[in-house]
Symmetry: C2
């Protein structure tokens, strides 16, 4: 197949382009990186043009721009694929734990290390290069392809839903494809058919209206850090079961069949412990490790701060304490309802001697997609041919809110065609992408377009 030959002979060039993409520190949650976000969007648009997309533009939103591309000359009988990805990245901190700088992509062995390597620049770029390979070698694609690459995924996609609503015609498609998930293991290509949702809160506890000397006031003024810890300590039991009233009301229990099928997915506990960097697992005893991370809701403090946090001792009774707390959700929990329930419980647990404010930062609906569609079959065959192995069907613990938006607004299913590996260290120092998966991901995308056009005939 000429397109596969093209992709194989251009691996070095594709990798160098990816490096250039990764050098742009497009951190979406930090104001100072706005110029980098804009630079990354313009860079990506140029690459879409060069690949052969007939349309390629940077489109404004109320936040960071969307990069849109389209090649729709396959005709109206051919299926249309909508590829979603995000060109923004997580903040790189703690920066001092990176072996090489987060925005100086470095190859060690078969991996490329940089913030965004796997999440999601490296993965989205597989589809750009697949389209290039087919167009440059054959002059046309077997299907219509549209791309929507956003710049706000890591801050909760605040503008995306509106953008999709306002551009339904432009985005009209038969199926969506997202490469922002991963394999179960190096030799375990996987298609994700379920995702957890998210509710994210920020909590601010105020005690005295200014910092006090803990010697002079300690014992008669409630310390907001002590109060915050006491509140957080009461949100869960020792096994992680969340004690907020009503929290589990809408959790759909899995069928025995689906639990059996998940239990049949190969899982190496020792390997998992090593990847997680822990000595022992933890959590609800009635569920397996895989179930706890895929089909059960959670509550994690993502950040906490207050008082004196420099070296040495300062005997301060601080005015304020803060925490960022997020809940991972499963069908059919609703992010807004859970944010309200947990927020109310935090306030209910707060002693009268402090003031507590809770704000919801963003949410995402949990989703489960159909495993039996022809599109899923095309994806499965593409993986099998590119990686030499049938893919596993799994659920995943993270959230990709756009999947719910595509379903509700555009009426289409999403294939989660991920190429990451479990040790990619997403959101952590030393994030990397496995280069063989980058190259074979491009091939998978080429093959998917081909199988999809056949199956749809």
């Amino acid at each position: 197949m000429e397109a596969l030959d093209y992709a194989r002979s251009h691996r070095d060039a594709f990798r160098e382009e990816l490096k250039a993409f990764l050098r742009i520190p497009s951190v979406s949650t930090q104001e100072k990186h706005v110029p980098d976000i804009e630079r990354a969007a313009a860079w990506l648009r140029d690459k879409l043009s060069e690949a052969g997309f007939s349309e390629a533009e940077v489109m404004p939103t109320s936040g960071h721009p969307v990069v849109y591309g389209a090649w729709t000359e396959a005709g109206s009988e051919a299926p249309t694929v909508l590829v979603y990805g995000h060109y923004d990245v997580q903040p790189p901190d703690p920066v001092d734990l990176w072996e090489t700088p987060p925005f100086e992509p470095t190859i060690r062995g078969n991996d490329i290390f940089a913030r965004g390597a796997s999440d999601d620049k490296g993965q989205l770029y597989t589809h750009v290069k697949a389209v290039e390979a087919v167009l440059q070698s054959r002059g046309e694609l077997p299907v219509n392809v549209k791309c929507i690459f956003e710049g706000e995924e890591e801050c909760g996609s605040p503008s995306l839903e509106t953008f999709i609503r306002e551009h339904q015609g432009l985005l009209d498609a038969d199926v969506a494809v997202i490469s922002d998930t991963g394999f179960l293991g190096r030799e375990k290509p996987s298609i994700v058919y379920g995702l957890r949702g998210l509710a994210y809160l920020e909590v601010e506890v105020t005690g005295p209206d200014h910092d006090l000397h803990s010697g002079l006031y300690g014992g008669a003024v409630l310390n907001p850090i002590n109060a915050l810890c006491t509140i957080i300590g009461q949100l869960q039991d020792e096994n992680g079961r969340i004690t907020v009233p009503g929290f589990y009301d809408n959790v759909r229990e899995l069928s025995d069949e689906e639990r059996d099928q998940l239990a049949g997915v190969p899982f190496d506990r020792e390997e998992w412990l090593q990847e997680a960097g822990v000595v022992r697992d933890w959590g609800e005893p009635d569920y397996t490790i895989m179930e706890r991370t895929m089909i059960r809701p959670t509550l994690d403090v993502n950040g906490i701060w207050g008082g004196y946090i420099e070296p040495g001792a300062k005997t301060v009774l601080p005015s304020k304490a803060f925490a960022k707390i997020s809940m991972r959700l499963v069908p059919d929990q609703n992010p807004d309802r859970i944010a309200a329930l947990v927020g109310d419980q935090i306030k209910a647990l707060a002693p009268q001697a402090v003031a507590v404010e809770v704000s919801a930062l963003h949410g995402a609906e949990p989703v489960v997609v159909d495993r039996e569609s022809p599109m899923m079959e095309a994806a499965s065959k593409a993986y099998e041919e590119a990686f030499g192995k049938e893919p596993l069907f799994v659920r995943r613990g993270g959230s990709i809110p756009v999947v719910a938006d595509f379903r509700s607004i555009l009426g289409i299913q999403t294939i989660l065609m991920g190429f990451g590996l479990p040790d990619d260290r997403l959101h952590s120092p030393n994030e990397k992408f496995h280069l063989p998966n980058f190259y074979r991901g491009i091939e998978t995308s080429i093959l998917f377009m081909s199988f999809l056009s056949e199956l749809s005939r």
Copy 2:
């Protein structure tokens, strides 16, 4: 009295000197300020010389230097007073909450605002200027005076005990005087006869060995922040009573007489709430606000941090969480024993899925001094004459570890002759010193020397 006249006519000059002292950012807990510490020590030594002390030198310790001064020509029958103070200051952060920069002393109304204004540069300087006033106006002091000004008080005086042990002859005296405490209120001059002690711990909780994506691992890996909060939440009950086994074993209950006497000290609850900046007080219901802050032990989290603490949302399950926790102690609690008890309990409360390390930063013995000595009488009379009011005898919640060292090593009592006010915002942004108390503090020191020499005859 010539010395009082001298002090009154030199008020402007003294205030300008204090400003120069306050401009030196002698923060002892931060490595970057070591040159400022040295500059402050040299400046103070020069001022001792200029005041007329016959000895004045900067003496090395294993940490920051001690400034020593002496005038001992009053003869061996005259009593010898050892004045202690500290020229180091707390870190100024959070710097953005200061109305004027912390190291640019600014006068607003009758107050001088700067880090260290009250704690302790302004207060220790009263004695330097008192000695100058007497020596420059009469040519001699009625008593022998020695000064020891340290540069490590705000980091727990790690070198001071050794310094005192190694220089017992040099420091030999009949009574110590420390001005590092305050009045109960603007018109309520007070002599402190009891101080709380301190035990200060730093806690490090480790979950996974690197930061994880909370979506991929949440639910099966224990989050170290959640664990830390749960531990801290269990160290106290809702009224602040500490639940660590054995914590109260050595707490000496006050006699009814002493409680009655404390209850007789004027206390304005509304004024206290306003100074503390709180809407309501908090703490053990069987004790008054004053008792909770003076005669009861406490546990305060002075700082906490972990995970993502920048603006926006990051869905991280962090590797580590930290807290600084200190306990204020009362007679006869021992700092080392309490540090061990609380540290052990923190470890006992820690779930197996995290690793916890506890280190003790420093401690201070609680002390109570004799209220009936001739020295105390001299001090009381000096206050009465300088401020026009008999001083109140109170206990205080803060810690001054050197008081216990003077008692155990030099065998002398300490008079806590403080001139601060409750709204001085020690350790907080906008620290200030009330200038009338600076001027009258100098007069009190002049009068104390005079009364002490009379009473000792």
